[in-house]
């Protein structure tokens, strides 16, 4: 159920991104005389301070916004595979060194770093933003992939590959990679949501290319024109809500994958009912056992 809602929602957003520019009722940049109007028949999402149509901006901006998310996530996931697998597989200085590098990147706050980097590249297009975000946000994925590699590397089939003299690139990317796919896809989904949030944050601060419409640049203009101080909610609610929904849908897909993969999650509920009934019956018959005994030692 959760997975269905998640996938359904994502498909709808993708459709909006693909057909959005073709069905946008107005030119998103064209100003008009109907200024700061709330939602109406002519302008379903209302208008901006310059009389631009918010719905058109939203529809045109959807594609680039999602594209940056996927672009950055692709870069980040590729890097996290290239660094995560070897850092888990190799012991000694190579593995330790790569682990150290990813731990350093893990604790360095990404957004301030990006702000400084992008600050030197004024007016960067959303495509450039995507690459830079990907280059700085791979560490979380690398950590998860490393942990999974550690637990896989002593399995039989990997040992067998090593014993038959497979070269290490073949072991890493042919024997280990398939077993890592669930972790990699989860970290990719997480990365998409994170990248879209980060991109939006950068553009909100005015660090994007303001001549391109994305949900982030839409939000920049609402800040710049103080839409929130004049109560123009129709202007800033749609882009932010859509971004939050992307995160929700991706999380629902992840929950679903988790529940399917984790037998314990499905089983525990039935067992709990049983033990609880037994415990209740026991209490009724003989009273609590060792009342107030402490936590497990």
């Amino acid at each position: 159920m959760k997975v269905k809602i998640g996938i359904g929602g994502l498909v709808v957003l993708l459709l909006i991104a693909i057909i959005g520019p073709h069905v946008a009722p107005y030119n998103p940049s064209a100003s008009s005389t109907s200024v700061l109007k709330g939602p109406s028949g002519a302008h379903l999402f209302g208008t901006t301070l310059l009389g631009q149509d918010v719905l058109s901006q939203f529809l045109v901006g959807a594609g680039p916004t999602l594209l940056v998310g996927f672009e950055a996530a692709a870069v980040a996931t590729l890097l996290s595979i290239l660094i995560g697998i070897p850092s888990g597989y190799f012991g000694g200085p190579v593995g330790e060194g790569m682990t150290l590098i990813s731990n350093v990147f893990l604790v360095l706050p990404t957004l301030p770093l990006l702000i400084v980097v992008v600050g030197y590249l004024p007016g960067s297009s959303y495509a450039v933003l995507g690459i830079v975000i990907g280059l700085t946000s791979w560490a979380f994925g690398a950590r998860v992939i490393r942990a999974q590699t550690l637990s896989l590397k002593s399995r039989d089939w990997v040992e067998a590959a090593r014993a038959t003299g497979d070269s290490w690139p073949r072991i890493l990317f042919h024997d280990l990679l398939p077993g890592l796919m669930p972790v990699i896809s989860a970290s990719f989904l997480f990365s998409v949501a994170f990248s879209i949030l980060t991109e939006t944050g950068l553009e909100f601060l005015g660090l994007g290319n303001l001549s391109q419409w994305t949900w982030g640049t839409m939000l920049y203009w609402t800040l710049n024109d103080a839409a929130y101080q004049i109560g123009a909610w129709w202007w800033y609610v749609p882009p932010g809500l859509a971004i939050a929904l992307i995160g929700l849908f991706l999380a629902l897909v992840n929950f679903g994958i988790d529940e399917r993969g984790n037998a314990r999650l499905q089983r525990s509920w039935g067992e709990r009912g049983l033990t609880r009934r037994l415990a209740r019956r026991r209490r009724r018959l003989v009273g609590p056992l060792e009342p107030g005994s402490g936590a497990p030692r």
Binding site: N103, V107, V116, Q229, T275, G294, P296
Partner: protein, 329 residues
């Protein structure tokens, strides 16, 4: 103790990496941005300020990279970040000294509240997983943690400051007040902090809620929970003293990981509320392409995040006897 020493060593390395990245960025970037900056400020700066700028950004100098790096380290060690263009003729270090306390209090307090609240709700959702509370709280947590902080801030301003008029919509204290340690000032500082703090607490809470919920669900399947139940202990006792207590450890580890994200969100929240903290300073620095200020703010935020991470890591070692034994990063 060895575990703590290892942590400290790791954070020393990371601090060095952050400082070096800060040195490298302006030198790796296409030169025209920095040259443009020099063109705008050059005439207004005295010789010493110009020299400080050279040390930070590495322009107009023919010294070797090594000697540039050494004089840069020397400047950082003495908190000499050059002159700010935005707050001309203030020193960057003065600007930071004035804004940092606002951020430390606002972000520090609201992060801790968010962590406690998120963990608490996560315990409840995980305990009743699959039930109504969980079916509502967990997707809700995923949703609020996916909201851009600043966007939720915009909504909070519109509703609580503009429509309802309960709290001021921007600033850190009433314009009629001067900064002083008295009740009048502190009370306006408090009312001004309510909305930004609410924004940070609500948005930051979601990730910890979901994380704690998942850990609870895993813990509930453990044998010691079944045994605790079979002993006939009350549900509350099993939930808090057996399940939550053990599920908390990974959530403390997760606290460190999501801290950078929370701080990033808090920076953007300050911008929405024109809060006089370091995030607003950063915003002004970006708007004016004030590179020395940007670099210094980056460094300060990074160092603060690293310090908070170190504290969380030490707390983890203190809470978990196993971490003390293994001593792994």
């Amino acid at each position: 103790m060895r575990a703590v020493a290892r942590k400290i060593a790791f954070y020393l390395v990371t601090t060095w990496a952050a400082i070096t990245v800060n040195f490298a960025i302006p030198r790796l970037m296409p030169g025209n941005a920095v040259d443009g900056f020099l063109g705008r400020v050059g005439g207004r700066l005295s010789g010493r300020a110009l020299q400080a700028l050279t040390v930070t950004l590495g322009t107009g100098t023919h010294k070797s990279l090594v000697s540039q790096y050494l004089s840069y380290l020397n400047a950082i060690a003495h908190f000499r970040f050059g002159t700010s263009l935005t707050y001309f003729p203030e020193d960057v270090s003065t600007v930071i000294r004035q804004s940092l306390p606002w951020t430390l209090v606002l972000v520090g307090v609201s992060t801790i509240i968010a962590f406690l609240l998120g963990t608490l709700l996560g315990v409840l959702a995980g305990w009743r997983h699959g039930r109504k509370l969980d079916e509502f709280l967990t997707p809700f947590g995923a949703f609020i943690s996916s909201m851009p902080y600043f966007w939720f801030g915009l909504i909070v301003v519109t509703v609580f400051a503009i429509d309802l008029g309960w709290f001021p919509s921007y600033g850190g204290y009433a314009a009629t007040q001067t900064i002083a340690f008295n009740t009048a000032f502190l009370s306006t500082a408090f009312t001004h902090a309510v909305l930004p703090a609410t924004t940070i607490i609500v948005t930051a809470m979601g990730a910890w809620l979901v994380g704690m919920r998942n850990m609870m669900v895993n813990t509930i399947g453990e044998d010691y929970i079944t045994i605790a139940r079979a002993k006939g202990l009350s549900e509350g006792s099993v939930m808090w003293r057996y399940a939550a207590r053990n599920a908390l450890l990974p959530n403390v580890a997760g606290f460190a990981l999501s801290l950078g994200f929370v701080v990033a969100g808090a920076i953007l929240t300050e911008v929405v509320f024109s809060y006089p903290g370091i995030g607003e300073v950063l915003y002004q620095a970006i708007a004016n392409r004030d590179y020395p200020l940007m670099q210094a703010v980056f460094l300060i935020i990074t160092l603060a995040v690293l310090a908070a991470n170190l504290i969380a890591d030490i707390a983890y070692v203190w809470l978990d006897p196993r971490a003390r034994q293994a001593g792994r990063a």
